[in-house]
Symmetry: C2
Subunit: 351 residues, 2 copies
């Protein structure tokens, strides 16, 4: 791992397999590369690795990225075709991880104190999330005035994030043999009304600080049925609401309850959105360094975890978010070079 050349570094990071739950070898390599840099203090817990300057600057910023990927899908190791690097994690988000490692190695004397933070298990159940675990176990490691999460945004600033909630909607009926169906009540038929309301639902579009969020309410799973000759007595529809950060989790749940009024609803999972957070001084400086208008982040990202810690945070990375988790995932070499130059410009000389 030679952190000086950001493209070689991107490929090296991509070519260490690190599917969620098996980030160890990549975390080891990252830790070992960081420990060779005398200007950084290095800490580790599990497969989370943190390195930081201690220059006594008035403000501290975090560059953060998760080390894990979704399962490989005939896209490992990486390959280069023209100006594209293909492979699992190239967009989400090993090219972002490589940017942070590159800055850590090549900028010993930044204008802000900088915390570089790499962590495991962002792609799976949130109880394994390395950022959440460190925020719980060592909150002081993450203290900062601003954070940039290097998730794929295709080189633009994506501000805040939408919240997400999942709930189970259950319909009930009464079992009967299908040869005597009139003695039963069909719970799957009853779910038709749930689906009709979801089909008819018109989601809001909300603009905050110039960032436009598009909400959505979708059935993501449905199941019901007892046997091929039984009128079913239960059907379950799992719905996922993505909500703009002007709603709290509670307000979003109330909204879903209102849309599906009359049906039994069980909340199973919920994560708050994060407001754009563009007013902190380092955020304004960062926007100036990027030089383009911010957009809304529609997916849920760990910026919401930083927001919950009281740290304004943005998404900014070279990958294309539409290619995340895709078998043909790739990243443009030009976006990696631009990202490195932008971060260098911002960190080297704060405004």
């Amino acid at each position: 791992m030679t952190p000086q050349n950001v493209l070689d570094l991107t490929r090296a990071v991509c070519d260490l397999e690190s599917v969620s739950g098996a980030e160890g070898p990549l975390a080891d390599a990252v830790e070992s590369a960081l420990r060779r840099l005398p200007h950084l203090e290095v800490l580790r817990d599990g497969d989370a690795v943190l390195a930081r300057t201690a220059l006594g600057r008035p403000e501290r910023v975090v560059l953060a990225g998760h080390l894990d990927t979704v399962p490989i899908n005939n896209n490992f190791p990486s390959t280069v075709v023209d100006d594209l690097i293909y492979g699992c994690g190239t967009s989400d988000m090993k090219s972002g991880v490589a940017l942070a490692l590159h800055l850590a190695a090549t900028l010993p004397d930044p204008g802000y104190d900088v915390t570089y933070f790499f962590y495991e298990a962002e792609e799976i159940e949130s109880k394994y999330n390395g950022l959440a675990l460190v925020a719980e176990a060592h909150p002081e490691w993450l203290e900062a005035d601003f954070a940039v999460l290097l998730e794929p945004t295709y080189g633009v600033v994506e501000a805040g994030c939408q919240g997400t909630l999942r709930a189970l909607v259950r319909t009930h009926g009464r079992r009967a043999h299908t040869a005597r169906a009139w003695r039963g009540v069909n719970a799957i038929h009853a779910a038709g009304e749930v689906l009709r309301r979801l089909e008819d639902y018109r989601p809001r579009t909300v603009t905050i600080d110039g960032c436009t969020y598009r909400e959505g309410l979708n059935a993501v799973r449905i199941s019901g049925g007892v046997a091929g000759n039984v009128v079913p007595d239960e059907c379950t529809v799992e719905v996922n609401m993505r909500f703009a950060p002007d709603r709290t989790e509670k307000q979003a749940l109330e909204h879903v309850q209102e849309v599906l009024e009359g049906f039994e609803l069980e909340l199973t999972d919920s994560a708050p959105g994060a407001l754009p957070g563009l007013t902190a001084a380092p955020a304004r400086d960062f926007l100036a360094a990027v030089g383009s208008e911010p957009a809304a982040k529609l997916g849920w990202t760990d910026v919401a975890r930083f927001a919950a810690l009281g740290i304004p945070a943005l998404n900014y990375g070279p990958g294309d978010p539409l290619l995340a988790h895709a078998p043909d995932e790739h990243v443009e070499i030009g976006k990696i070079r631009d990202g490195a130059a932008t971060l260098h410009r911002w960190l080297a000389s704060p405004f």
Copy 2:
């Protein structure tokens, strides 16, 4: 097994466990009991056991019953409470099997030649069905002018049976991340229209030979979904149509296709109905012996297999069909005694 006392015999048959696929011990006991009867020729194939008279009567009738039960459900062995015998298979259809065994043992000189037929695997996939296997391997074993299938009918004649078909209805969409749901098409939402048509469906009621058949069209299973954050691209609804025997299988399928026009439909399973078959001479005699009006059989039963062999067949048994497969399955002792007397009256002295 003492075939002379029909109640003891019922309990003995019930207390030999014979869940589908494990009928061997019961088939052995039945075979051994029948082989002790000098007036019968006994044949066996697999766990199907057949015994028959050869008296040179002008007409031959079959008394048939399956030996297997659904899985036991805290209802084995049998218990007697007042005038009820509780236990797995008491209604469906070991009390019917006991009637046939009792007649075989106690009526050496019937007015018809009689074939007593006991078989395995009626409650599971039709490829294992002992009646179907013998009809294929030894069709001459089953040659007869009329058959009584001793399925539970609560002591009335249930004539013919409804047909049944199952089909999968699939809706399609386009996957997308739920944070960008407008890029996708939700296949589960699209299934709402399938469920609405099923909910609105008004099934026919058809009367044939005085027997009234009630049709039904039901969703029996539904499934769809990729992951909690993905707009699903496929949803599958399994439907079960029960159709009166005035429709052929082909006509029933065309009807379902018409109801669900515009949706992809795949037929997965189909079995024809059977017309009431009340016009054969032994059937008329049997109705006279029972002395009550026949009703329509709504569930599918193996009478359709006899009908397919050109043998008119009826359902008639002491069990209550509504208790079949229930944990509190039971049979009334009075219905067993009545059944034995009726069959004896019919077989001893044809009209």
